[in-house]
């Protein structure tokens, strides 16, 4: 596969690893957060941690939209799915997220709710066209990469004059999450969490461009390197961060230059701005209420807003008291630090969201890393 295989080459990986080891200053530690869940997955899947020197440590950030979706919103979706004749469409990642009382969309499906996994938002529109007598709700989640496809679906539904299609919108914004982490007490208070730099998300950045990160680099004096999705990209980005930190720079650099520009995909951005607007505040699982961090559907498209069409109450479901997802999402604790990890909470029976998504820090560690601890 072109543009994929070359970016996974083992020999080049060794070369970059040698560079990192050579250039990392043995007198200091480097704490780098990879924000994006896809990067977490790549780091685990390719065993990148094995190739880094001991003083370069990766912290897993909250860039996993499944992980940060509050259980209450999943509960809302389950209740919608249980309405008679309603078809709930969602991405595969959502099916096993635990809501309240051990329920999930998959379990609701097993009990008779019509829950259908789709690969694309367009598939949900198609289902609505094919089932004009039934209400079809698309459970939309995701960061800025996945939001434009939802916008396209809403506009498509409008063009088709569909009366039975609506979207339950849970789209969230990357820069807000990064700001929230950087402003958290653990970072501000010295000694609790050292965070030296960020690996910026790959595909979010193809949409929003590299410009939005300039604020963080400037304001918080932390370097950001936007990295592509493949393991070599991640390693090169780590090298670039090490170099910035050695040289005392705090800039935004773009390793994923083959797909990311400073402005990003303006067409997609305009489409999103046409259909969505900012919510004043939104609850993130593990991070609490974060201002201006999420989107809702604008008034002129309210005909397609599930929160207007249906009564969707605000449900607050507290996480299990022993669940450390919140701290893990903020990078303050590691999966191994959670009492439930690997015992009560496993990929088969996830208690918290970090275990459900295959790139949540806990799932990634369980699947790929736990043998290192045991060995």
């Amino acid at each position: 596969m072109k543009y994929v295989d070359e970016f996974r080459d083992g020999a080049l990986a060794k070369n970059i690893a040698v560079n990192i080891t050579r250039e990392a200053d043995p007198r200091r530690r480097y704490h780098l957060m990879e924000f994006c869940g896809g990067h977490t997955h790549a780091i685990s899947r390719y065993g990148i941690a094995d190739l880094l020197p001991a003083n370069v440590r990766m912290i897993h950030g909250p860039g996993c939209p499944v992980c940060v979706l509050p259980a209450g919103r999943v509960e809302n979706a389950i209740q919608l799915a249980q309405l008679p004749e309603l078809i709930l469409c969602c991405y595969g990642d959502l099916l096993r997220v635990p809501a309240g009382g051990g329920m999930s969309l998959l379990k609701a499906k097993a009990r008779g709710a019509d829950v259908r996994m789709v690969y694309s938002s367009g598939d949900a529109v198609k289902i609505a066209q094919e089932n004009p007598q039934r209400q079809v709700v698309f459970f939309a989640i995701g960061f800025e990469t996945t939001t434009p496809p939802t916008a396209v679906a809403i506009r498509q539904a409008q063009a088709l004059n569909l009366k039975n299609f609506s979207v339950f919108c849970n789209h969230v914004l990357t820069p807000s999450a990064i700001a929230h982490i950087l402003q958290s007490p653990e970072i501000r208070r010295l000694g609790v969490l050292a965070l030296d730099g960020f690996i910026g998300p790959a595909h979010v950045s193809t949409v929003i461009g590299s410009r939005p990160y300039e604020y963080f680099a400037e304001e918080f004096q932390k370097p950001v390197v936007i990295a592509g999705f493949e393991p070599l990209d991640v390693m090169q980005a780590i090298l670039m961060l090490v170099r910035q930190l050695n040289e005392g720079r705090a800039e935004v650099e773009n390793e994923f230059s083959r797909a990311v520009t400073r402005d990003g995909n303006v067409k997609a951005q305009l489409l999103v701005a046409e259909v969505f607007e900012l919510r004043r505040v939104f609850e993130w699982r593990g991070l609490g209420l974060v201002p201006y961090s999420a989107l809702r559907i604008k008034a002129q498209y309210s005909a397609f807003d599930a929160e207007q069409r249906f009564d969707i109450p605000h449900i607050s479901i507290a996480d299990n008291k022993a669940c450390e997802c919140g701290a893990i999402l903020r990078g303050v604790k590691r999966p191994q630090d959670c009492k439930l990890f690997g015992t009560v909470c496993t990929p088969d029976n996830p208690v918290g969201s970090c275990m459900v998504s295959s790139e949540g820090a806990c799932a990634a560690h369980y699947s790929y890393g736990r043998f290192r601890e045991a060995a």
């Binding site: 596969m1 072109k2 543009y3 994929v4 070359e6 080459d9 080049l12 070369n15 970059i16 040698v18 560079n19 990192i20 050579r22 250039e23 990392a24 200053d25 043995p26 007198r27 994006c36 869940g37 896809g38 860039g63 996993c64 939209p65 991405y91 690969y119 694309s120 938002s121 367009g122 598939d123 995701g142 960061f143 990469t145 996945t146 434009p148 496809p149 396209v152 998300p201 790959a202 595909h203 979010v204 193809t206 949409v207 592509g228 070599l232 990209d233 090169q236 090298l239 170099r243 050695n246 994923f256 230059s257 083959r258 797909a259 990311v260 995909n265 067409k267 997609a268 489409l271 790139e359």
Partner: protein
Amino acid sequence: MCLAIPACVEELIAGDSAIVNLGGVRKEISLALVEDVAVGDYVIVHVGFALQKLDPEEAAQTLALFAEIGGAAQE
């Protein structure tokens, strides 16, 4: 986040869509989010949509960077 992969545009079809090819697997995707896509271009595909065109020159430059010999060890 965001599982997305680079795929080659094989055919443009009506309704702002295209058939892309990744390693021999063909899929129909939407071009609603991009512009000026031609057959032979590579695009990043996410949940059935092309998000961005891939720049082959930048790709080559990035690969070259991977192969560079790094700087001297810190003193």
